[in-house]
Structures are given as structure tokens and as C-alpha cells.
């Protein structure tokens, strides 16, 4: 091929104005040309040879993997089910415990209610209890009276 034609094509190539066909011609020229090139054409030769090598380079192609979506089987999620069961068992147990305690409390309340069926007997018992209380209260006030005597005496001395 005429070197001048190559020079003209190269000029277009460097400017980014060459067509794909012209670039193909350049690659073909620089790959197949075996004789010594003129000096001004030498710089481009390795580049076009590199492009050709890269074009021909075999890039290992992986096989397309089309993986069908697997339908999940129920037993694949056993941990989820186990967790739900565990939570349900826990909640059930605590509800049961709560209700049991409530029953016990209610039963205890019942035992603290009326202890006598007969109102007269109950009245007598209450009277007894109040008498005991008043007796003890009187004991206390007797002591307080002594204290007031003492207090009066100290007042007189002071005056």
C-alpha cells in the first residue's frame, strides 16, 4: 500500500475522524507489513499490532448460568417454626403462671373475710377485742398521768 495513503489515514486517525473501515485498513497494514517502515510510520505500528492482538485474544467465556428459582420447602425453615413454637410455649407458660397466682390471691382474700357466721358471737368477740384494747390504753394513760405530776412539780419549782 502507498505510504502516503497510510499517512493520510493516520492523520485522520489521530484526529479521531477516521471511519471503522479506515481503522481496519490501518490495522491490517501494520500487522501484515513485513518490510522496514519509514521512520514517521514506525511509532504507530506497535499500537495497531496491540489492537489486533487484543481483538484476537480469547477471553474465557463463562457459561451462562440460569438458575431456576427454587421453591422453598416447608422444612427448610424449621428454625423459624421452632422459634415461633418456643415463643408460644413461653407466652402460654407465663399466662398460666399469672392466672395461677391470681387464683391464689383471690383465695387468700377469701380467707381474710368473715370468720364468724353468728353475728352475736362476732359482736362478743369484737367487744372482747375492744376491751383488751381499752385496757391496754388505760395502762398507757396511767403512766402518762404520772408524767404530768412530775411535769407540774417541775413547773412549781421553776416558779
Amino acid at each position: 500500500m502507498d505510504y502516503n495513503k497510510i499517512r493520510a489515514l493516520l492523520e485522520k486517525y489521530w484526529e479521531g475522524e477516521s471511519s471503522l473501515e479506515e481503522e481496519q485498513m490501518l490495522r491490517h497494514f501494520f500487522v501484515t507489513h513485513t518490510q522496514a517502515l519509514p521512520e514517521d510510520l514506525r511509532e504507530a505500528a506497535p499500537m495497531f499490532q496491540y489492537f489486533r492482538l487484543e481483538q484476537e485474544k480469547e477471553i474465557p467465556q463463562p457459561a451462562a448460568r440460569i438458575v431456576p428459582l427454587r421453591k422453598s420447602k416447608p422444612w427448610q425453615h424449621w428454625m423459624k417454626y421452632a422459634a415461633v413454637l418456643l415463643i408460644m410455649a413461653g407466652v402460654g407458660y407465663s399466662v398460666q403462671q399469672f392466672r395461677q397466682k391470681q387464683h391464689e390471691l383471690i383465695a387468700a382474700d377469701w380467707t381474710q373475710q368473715d370468720t364468724f357466721d353468728d353475728p352475736e358471737k362476732a359482736y362478743a368477740e369484737t367487744q372482747k377485742a375492744l376491751q383488751l384494747l381499752s385496757r391496754n390504753l388505760n395502762k398507757g394513760t396511767e403512766q402518762m398521768e404520772k408524767l404530768s405530776y412530775f411535769n407540774d412539780a417541775t413547773q412549781k419549782i421553776k416558779n
Binding site: 506497535p46 499500537m47 499490532q49
Partner: protein
Amino acid sequence: MSLELFHSQVMPIRPKLYRFAYRLLNNEQDAQDITQDAMLRVWNQQGRMAELQNLEAWCMRIVRNLALDRLKSKKYRNTELLDKADTMQASHQSNPHLAAEQQDVMDRVHRIIHALPEKYRTIIQLRDIDGFSYQEIADILELTMNEVKTNLHRARKAVREQLQNIQVYGLQ
């Protein structure tokens, strides 16, 4: 989009998407992951298919965005790319000395191109290796055609300057 449509329109460009991802990432596993993610994203955004003018460019754009995210997240080192240069194969040469010399030159060109900013590198790859038209590149990179040409011109100019340095001074 039906499964049939996906099979007939998207699946055929899968190898192209993979190659694109591979060139961007230079890593087989990452390229596979990105391609798979891109296919999923295309499937999930099937509602947009009707308004698309260029399905392939749209898919490529998704791959590029995913690959760039991956590059950012992984903080790829340039050396990873350079390491790959060693595995490149030069064209068959009967003379071992010549073959080694040519291998060396190819490695240098590889390094020059991979040292370019991502945008320039991608444009060169799309045009000079994958053979996309200016319009297709504009669609993929969401640029105007003039911007594509300008960037391509700058990218090639940068490569040319480096090649001249090698030529004249033998610099790497």
C-alpha cells in the same frame, strides 16, 4: 419484557458485556459477577425497555457503571493491571529473541493504554478493540458524538506521545 424477549435480545449480547467488563476490570471472577448483576438489573428494569433506542448501549452502560463502582470499592491498584501485562501473548514468532522483543513492546503499549484515565481508556477500548461506531460509544458513555471524537482524539494523542517517547528515547 417476557422471558422469550430477554432470551432473544439480551442473552445474545451477554458475551459482549462480559468482554467489556473483563477489559474494564481485568479480572475473570469480577467480570462474571458484574455481567450477572447487569443481567439482573436489565431484567428488573424491564419496564424501561420500551423507551430505549439502543438496548445494547444501555446494557453496556449498566456494565460500565457497575464495573466503575467495583473499581472504586475495591480500590484496584494499577499494578494489578500491569501484572496482567505479563500474561499477554505476542503473535507467534519462530525467533525467540524477536518474540521476546515483540512481547516487550506489546507490554509497553498495554501499560500506556492502561495508564490512561478511565474515560480515555474505555473510549479507546470501545473503538479500537471492540469496534463500536462513534454513535454507539456516545450512547454507551452518555456523551455527544463530538465529545466522543474529542476524547478519542485526546486519548490517541496521549498514547502517541508515549509511543514517540519509546521510539525516540526508548523511555518506558
